[in-house]
C-alpha cells in the first residue's frame, strides 16, 4: 500500500494548482506555516467520528473544499460527493434527512421487520451538513443524537454507519439562521473560520476559467485502503507526557471555579463570572489566572478532541519530537466555539467583542506556558506525594504556598482525601 501521507501531500499541491481560495497560511507550527482551513479539513479526514465546523460568510469555499476532499479521500466523482451532502433549511424533515418507512411493504407485507429506506447521507461515512445553522433548533437535535451516539434511529430502527468523518458548514447570523445550542457546539470537535478572498486572491480566481466540478477530476485520489489506514497512522503518533499534562491542565484551567459546583461550571446559566460569581475572589481580574475569564467552561470532550487533533496534525505535518507546538496551534480552534468568555474582558480592546479566537489563543498560551514553567515545582510535589515519596501533610503545606487555582482546587483536596 502506498504511503497515504504522500497522497495527501500531493493532494495539497493539486489543490494549490486549482487556485481554490482558502485564505492565508495562518497556522504556525514550529517554523512552518499552514492554512488552517485546509489542514483542519485534512486532519478531520484522517480522524474518525470527529466533527469539524467551517464557519464563515458565503462564498468562502467551505462547502467546495469539503466536497473536493471527499472526492479525493473517498475516490468518487464530485457529483456523488455533493449528493452525500445535507443542506439546511427550515423545511428539511427527518424523512428527507435520514430515511423513511418503505411504503411498498404496506401493499405486500412480508410480516418481518419494518423496512426503512435510509438516505445516502445517513448511510455514508463522509457526512457533510451544509449550513447547519439554517436548520431550526428542533431539527438540529437530530444531529445531537447522531454525533453523540454515532447512530441514526428512525421508527425504532437503528442504523450504525460506522466510523465516519463529519463536516459541517455554518454562516454568520442572518435572518434565516438559528443559533446552535451549547450542547451541540460541545459535540463539535473543532471550528475553523473561513475568510472571503482578498484582492490578490480575487485576481488569482479570475484567472481560473473552469468550474470546480470540472477541476475535481484532476485531483489525486486516495485508495480505499489508504483512507481506512489513516486513523491507525494517526493513533501511532505519541503525544508525550508534557503534551498530555498541558492538555489536562488546559481543560482544567478553563473549568476551575471554587464557587461553582464542579459539576456545574459548564452549565452556569443564572450566574458566572460576568454576573458577579467571582466578585471579591482574589483571582478575579488577575490576567495570569484563567478561571474568571470564562463564563462557561470546557467539558471532557474538549480533552479528547485536543488529543485527537494534536495527533492528526503531528501526522499530517510530519512533526517529530515534541508535539507542544502543534497543541499550541490547534487548541484555540478546538476551544473557542465551546466557551463563553467573560463579557467585560471580551468587549475591551483589542478584541472589541468580536475577536474571540484571538482572545482564546491568548488564554491557551497562558495556560500552556504556566503548566510548562510556573507549575513545574508544584506538579513535582504532587507526584512525589501521590507516589509516597513525600509526606502528604508536608506536600499540602508546600502546595498551599503556590496560590495556584489548580493546586488549591485540585491538588490539595486530592492529597487531603488520601490522609
Amino acid at each position: 500500500m502506498p504511503d497515504p501521507l504522500r497522497s495527501i501531500e500531493s493532494l495539497v499541491v493539486a489543490l494549490d494548482d486549482l487556485c481554490l481560495h482558502l485564505g492565508c497560511k495562518d497556522l504556525q507550527i514550529g517554523d512552518h506555516r499552514f492554512n488552517s482551513l485546509l489542514h483542519f479539513c485534512l486532519a478531520n479526514a484522517c480522524l474518525r467520528n470527529r466533527v469539524l465546523l467551517l464557519y464563515g460568510g458565503m462564498g468562502a469555499n467551505k462547502t467546495s473544499l469539503v466536497n473536493l476532499l471527499g472526492c479525493s479521500f473517498l475516490g468518487i466523482p464530485f457529483d456523488d460527493v455533493e449528493n452525500l451532502m445535507l443542506t439546511g433549511h427550515p423545511e428539511q424533515t427527518e424523512e428527507k434527512m435520514i430515511g423513511f418507512i418503505d411504503p411498498r411493504q404496506w401493499s405486500c407485507p412480508n410480516g418481518g421487520e419494518m423496512e426503512i429506506l435510509w438516505t445516502p447521507w445517513a448511510r455514508s461515512n463522509w457526512k457533510v451538513i451544509n449550513e447547519i445553522n439554517r436548520f431550526p433548533s428542533g431539527k438540529q437535535n437530530i444531529f445531537l443524537e447522531l454525533l453523540q451516539k454515532r447512530k441514526v434511529t428512525y421508527a425504532g430502527q437503528v442504523l450504525t454507519p460506522g466510523d465516519t468523518c463529519y463536516f459541517a458548514t455554518m454562516n454568520p447570523d442572518f435572518s434565516a439562521t438559528y443559533p446552535l445550542d451549547e450542547a451541540l457546539l460541545d459535540r463539535i470537535s473543532a471550528s475553523v473560520p473561513a475568510t472571503q478572498p482578498d484582492l490578490i486572491n480575487g485576481l488569482a480566481l479570475a484567472e481560473r476559467e473552469r468550474e470546480i466540478a470540472d477541476l475535481a477530476g484532476e485531483l489525486p485520489r486516495l485508495s480505499r485502503e489508504e483512507f481506512y489506514a489513516l486513523p491507525e497512522k494517526v493513533s501511532d503518533q505519541q503525544l508525550g507526557s508534557a503534551v498530555e499534562l498541558a492538555i489536562v491542565s488546559l481543560v482544567r484551567d478553563f473549568t476551575l471555579c471554587e464557587r461553582a459546583p464542579s459539576f456545574d461550571k459548564t452549565e452556569l446559566y443564572g450566574t458566572g463570572p460576568s454576573r458577579g460569581l467571582c466578585h471579591g475572589c482574589h483571582y478575579f481580574n488577575n490576567p495570569e489566572v484563567l478561571c474568571w475569564q470564562v463564563d462557561q467552561g470546557l467539558s471532557d470532550r474538549a480533552r479528547q478532541d485536543l488529543r485527537a487533533f494534536t495527533r492528526a496534525f503531528s501526522f499530517l505535518c510530519r512533526v517529530e519530537g515534541s508535539k507542544m507546538d502543534v497543541l499550541r496551534a490547534i487548541a484555540p480552534y478546538v476551544i473557542w466555539h465551546r466557551v463563553t468568555l467573560q463579557r467585560s474582558l471580551f468587549d475591551q480592546p483589542p478584541y472589541y467583542g468580536s475577536r474571540k479566537l484571538d482572545l482564546v489563543r491568548t488564554l491557551v498560551e497562558k495556560s500552556i506556558d504556566r503548566t510548562l514553567n510556573e507549575r513545574g515545582e508544584m506538579n513535582m510535589i504532587l507526584s512525589r506525594a501521590m507516589d509516597g515519596d513525600m509526606p502528604l501533610r508536608r506536600a499540602i503545606r508546600e502546595l498551599e504556598e503556590f496560590d495556584d487555582p489548580l493546586a488549591r482546587l485540585d491538588y490539595i483536596p486530592a492529597l487531603a482525601r488520601m490522609l
Partner: protein, 258 residues
Amino acid sequence: MSLKGFMEEAYGGQVRSRRLERRKGTVVLSLKEISDKLESRPEKVDVARLAPKGALLARLISLVPEGKREALIWGYLTSIAAEGSLEPVEVTGGDYAGLELARGRLFIDGAGDHIGEGMKGGLIRVRGRSGHYLGQGMSGGGIVAGSSGDYAFRNISGGWGVILGDSGSYLGLGNSGGRVVVKGRAGQRVGWLMHSGRLRVGGDVGDYLGLMMSGGRISVGGCAGARAGWRMRGGKIEAACYGPEACGDGRILGGEDS
C-alpha cells in the same frame, strides 16, 4: 508509569519555580478599582472610560460605595447605566445617584443626598424620601420624588422637578431657570436669591419666602410665613395669605420686571 516518572518526563528534569504573579488586569470590577485608577476628583468622562458594560456594570451599581469619592463614582455609574439602557435602571439608596445624568431613566428606592445633581436630561423617579440637595445644579431633565430634605433644586438653570409630599428649607435657592412643584409644604427661605424660573408650593411655606429674589415667580397655595418677599428686588410672589412683616399688600407681591 508512576506519576513521578510521568512528571519527570514532562519536565525533562528542568523544573522552574515561580509563584502566581499577583496583579490586576484592566477590567474594572469594583468601585475601589475605578477610584484607584483615577487621579484627581472623578469626572464623568473618566469614569465612563473605565466602566464595564452589561452585567458587571449592573453589579457595580448594586454595590454600596465607601466614602465620598466612591459615592461620586457610583453616582456617575448609575447615570452611565441609565444612559446606556433602553429600560429604566433601578438602584437602591446611595448619594449622588443620577449624577450628571444626560438621558435615560433611573428609578431610585430610598435615596440619599445629591440625587440628580447636575443632571442635563432624562428622568429620575425617587420612590419615597430623598435626602438633601435633590437636583442641585440641574440644567435639564426631570425629577419626581416623594419628598425631599433641604436645598432641593438649588441653583437650577433648567429642567423640572416635582415633589409629591413636603420639601425641606431653601427650596430653589439661587435658581436661574426651571420649574419646580411641591404638592405639600416647604420649609423656610423658599426661592432665596432666585433669579428666574418658577416655584409652586401647594401647602404652607416657612419664613422668608422669596428672600432677596430678583426674578422668577413663586406661587404658594397655602400661607407664607413671616417676612415674605424680604429685600426682594424683582419677580413675583403669590400666596393665599402672608405672615407678619411681609413686603407689600394683598395677594401678590413683587416688582414690575418679572
